[in-house]
């Protein structure tokens, strides 16, 4: 053993830590992530200035919102599907429920959006071809009020469906269809309004905005696909014999196909209408990088559909990783070209994304403590044993485990 190694061993024995060890300590990780997030955003502000940072922030924030808002309908659907099949899809469902904690986090991080409404949305004097109600709709106060309403409803739904196994209204053998339908319906209405308000209405030039009634549904499909793909990447693999393992690729491929189908249908219908504003909207987004993104998305959807014939763990994760990348880029493709005259991902976008991720990681533990109903303990017995966890996590002491560990059965 060299002198340096001896010194390191002595420091470790004495309890001293390196700088990286200090910040990676689980107790300090949220604060460190928050600090890194703030640093990234300050760097982006310095690099690009506020008018260029604001669209990137909005796009990055929609990526963050996509995780809880997209996970919500998937949680409901998987829970309904589990009512019909003998073996529940536990690990993926728990991971998706874990994403629901990001709903209040996204609400907190949405605070700058109404403040920057003047930079993101048209002013009261630029009616353009829009209807009369749009004139005062995007005033900061009204926008903040609508955002507050959306997040109040979304957080309520997240609290309702974060409960495992349909608790408390359902016992084994009795699942409530009505709440599932109402939950899905309410989410769809809120999501449509939010997508129209925040994403479709973006841009200060009324001639470069278009209005399509399918846009809300399209954004909801993209969010759900992104959330499911992210959950597939994070969740542990399904265990058991190959014939009994749940196929996670097919639901993802179906969501990707729905999303791609909605894109194609919207494009075809607007083309049939020969709508000049829609043509301008698409032209703005059909720069070289925009076309690369469109072709890549088509390739990913085709790959996902083809691989459903031969699903496998690694293939599923590959498709999920590609889907996360495509959807992340798509959410920037929706927002940023309206301010830049074309689509391309730059340093400001990446810094905004990293900043939002850091802030979200920093805020999530505090939100878990404040709202214990959203703190989901992963019900993965193998992973818990591997990490030495023996009891429920903080904030989850009130709820029972529905999935019995193998040793209990």
């Amino acid at each position: 053993m060299s002198a340096e190694e001896k010194g390191g061993a002595a420091r470790r024995a004495a309890g001293a830590k390196s700088a990286s060890g200090y910040f990676l300590d689980p107790a300090r990780r949220p604060a460190a992530a928050f600090a890194v997030g703030v640093g990234c955003l300050l760097l982006a502000l310095h690099h690009a200035g506020l008018p260029r940072l604001v669209p990137s922030y909005l796009a990055a924030w929609t990526c963050l919102l996509a995780l809880p808002a997209g996970a919500l309908p998937v949680v409901i659907m998987i829970e309904r599907a589990d009512a019909w099949r003998p073996q529940p899809e536990t690990a993926l469902l728990e991971t998706l429920r874990g994403l629901l904690v990001l709903m209040p986090v996204a609400a907190i991080l949405a605070l700058p959006i109404p403040l920057a409404a003047g930079l993101l949305y048209p002013g009261p004097d630029s009616a353009g071809p829009d209807g009369p109600l749009i004139l005062f709709g995007n005033a900061p106060l009204f926008l903040a009020a609508r955002l507050g309403l959306y997040f109040a409803l979304w957080t309520g739904l997240a609290l309702l469906f974060a409960r495992r196994g349909g608790e408390p209204w359902a016992k084994a053998g009795r699942i409530d269809d009505g709440r599932a339908v109402l939950g899905l319906g309410l989410h769809t209405v809120v999501g449509t309004l939010a997508a129209d308000d925040l994403v479709m209405a973006v841009g200060t030039d009324p001639g470069l905005r278009f209005h399509a009634s399918a846009f809300g549904l399209l954004v909801l499909a993209a969010w759900s696909s992104l959330a499911l793909a992210a959950a597939i990447l994070v969740a542990p693999p399904d265990v058991g014999p190959a014939r009994r393992r749940h196929d996670r690729l097919t639901p993802l491929a179906v969501l990707l196909l729905v999303w791609a189908g909605l894109h194609a249908v919207q494009f075809l219908m607007l083309g049939a209408a020969a709508d000049p504003e829609a043509a301008a909207w698409y032209r703005l987004r059909s720069s070289f990088y925009g076309r690369v993104l469109a072709l890549s998305a088509a390739a990913v959807v085709a790959l996902a559909a083809a691989l459903t014939l031969r699903p496998g763990e690694n293939r599923t994760r590959l498709v999920a990783a590609l889907a996360v990348g495509i959807h992340g880029a798509e959410l920037f493709w929706f927002v940023t070209p309206a301010f830049r005259g074309g689509f391309r991902l730059g340093l400001t976008d990446l810094l905004a994304l990293a900043g939002l991720a850091g802030l979200a990681m920093g805020l999530a533990p505090a939100v878990r403590r404040l709202i214990p109903g959203l703190a989901v303990t992963p019900a993965w017995p193998g992973r818990q044993r591997g990490r030495g966890h023996t009891g429920p996590a903080a904030g989850d002491t009130r709820r029972k485990s529905v999935v019995r560990p193998p040793e209990a059965s």
Binding site: I134, G185, F215, L217, R244, G271, A272, A274, A279
Partner: protein
Amino acid sequence: MTEPALPPAPTPAFLYGMPVLGTGETVSSIGAALTGAVLAPAGRRWRFAVAGTLVLILLWAGLRSAVPAALAAAGAGWWIGLASGCLLISGLLLLAGVAWRCGIGRLAQTAALLCAGLAALHPVPLHSVSLAALLAAAGGFWAAALLPDLAVLRDRLAAEPDRRWSRVYRVLSAGWSGSALQWLAWERASRGFALLGILAAVAVLIDLALAAAFRTDRHDTLLPVALLVEAVLSAAGLIAALTVTLRRSLGLYGLITGRHLDILGRLILAFGLAALYCHVTENVTALLYGDSVERARLTRRLLGDEAPAFWTLMLAGLLPTQLFWIAPVRRSAIVLGLIGALVAAGLGADHVLAARTGTTETDLADLGTAAAAAIGSAGLFVLGLLLLFRLVPPVSIAETRQLALAHNPHAALGAPEAELEFSRDRSSDQGPRPGLLAVFASEAELVEAVRGLSGPDAPSRLDAYGPVPMPEAAAALHVGGQRLNRFALSGAFLGAAAFLAARVIGLADAMPEGLADVAALASPATWPVFWPVSWPLSWAMAAVPALSAGALGGVLGLGAALVVALRATRRDHRPPSALAGRFVLTIDPSREPDAARFNPAALVRRLNALPEAAGRPLALYGPSAPVRLR
């Protein structure tokens, strides 16, 4: 390396405490009830119903030419919506593996076929290949699902003195023997047809929406989604009405239970909400973000010349669905049937809106004529149903038996009580059987017997036959699946390529510079810059019919592959028809040179030594007298 044997999967609990199948239903009772519904002589009510439909058909034939073209196109759209919805419902239930689908699946498939046929009798406002794909997919799905049931009818008629219908069903059943390999091919083909049917249905609805967008000023981007949702909703309403009628008229209370009606009510409720979402979003978007033209159109729809169609859609097609929030309403068969029929009819109003035909005072007479013609064409639909359900069972025998075996403990058939006429079977025209036949109570017991008999030195050929799909038996017999998927994919690729080639040739003939102009249109660099000018000719507008052509090619490829697979797997020595409906293991001598080592007595001893209910057969039959073991 083979996987270890798995414990049986736990049976899912009945939801809501209502069974999806009568508790007394067995393999035998299901076969008797459903073949009886086909083979029983037609009653007086059936004849009256046929006479009534003939009156309606005469009405339709008289009014058909008087209906304006736009309203006739709306009628075609309505039938296309119903066909697509039925295909989507039956296909999605099959692909999702929903066990209770058997109660409504055959009805949905038959309705899809008839509705697609009726749409073809109207002037269709879309590409002909889209309608052809829908018709082919509905026909292929229906015919493939029928195969095992036709074989049940064939076996049922084998002992009848009148041999004419027996011969008909023997030809129609295409050599179906119920072997494990045939079941495997059938399951894969059914899934393939379901997928292609969904593809064809979605493509035809998008084509319908695009055709409406070109013909009229309705360019709402939610229109394809609305048509899709309404197609499923109208089909659910139609299936609900038909299910209630069928259940009552044939007394199929054990096979179509209250649970089915409850599920249909929930389906109508959920899709009613989705359709309301589409229409409310369309109107709110026009109100909030639309320009003056869109807002004027909204006013016209709510209060102007489009108001009759719009409010018919709302009051008959959408709002009644919300009554199903009330459980007693949802569970009442009569109310479900009436609301289902009202919804299926009321949603036709959206096709009138899509056809953009205003209903001013002068047009009201045309609208009345079109409504009367639609009622007349419904007579043709009902006549088709009445005739088809005299030929094929109205509920799938194979799938219902599968459900019975999974849920009812004593559903399986035992060994036949009467002595089996082993050496000469009239139904199969086969010679004397040299090997053994072993009868089992379940697929699991048959699998144990296969494991007990198979091995590298086994001097025998084993094959399994049964009344339902036998995936575990196929795995134990190491039966490889047919490559049906590849045939379907090849057919789909060829279909799409042939369509695009024909389209390019047609365009090149129409363009001044020929292929050079077509290449310019096909380039992605042209979109969306030349949108208003060349859009109808661009590559994008060929995408949807190309999708339909792909589905059509896939259906043809899969159908051919299924026929080839059935012919290839047809065995010379299928079990006699007296053993139909049972799990039978056939043990035949291997081909030369090991045939001399075949020793039936030793095989009987090996089978007899297996534990009871874990491989020991209920009965054994050989060249000599039958052996009843337990």
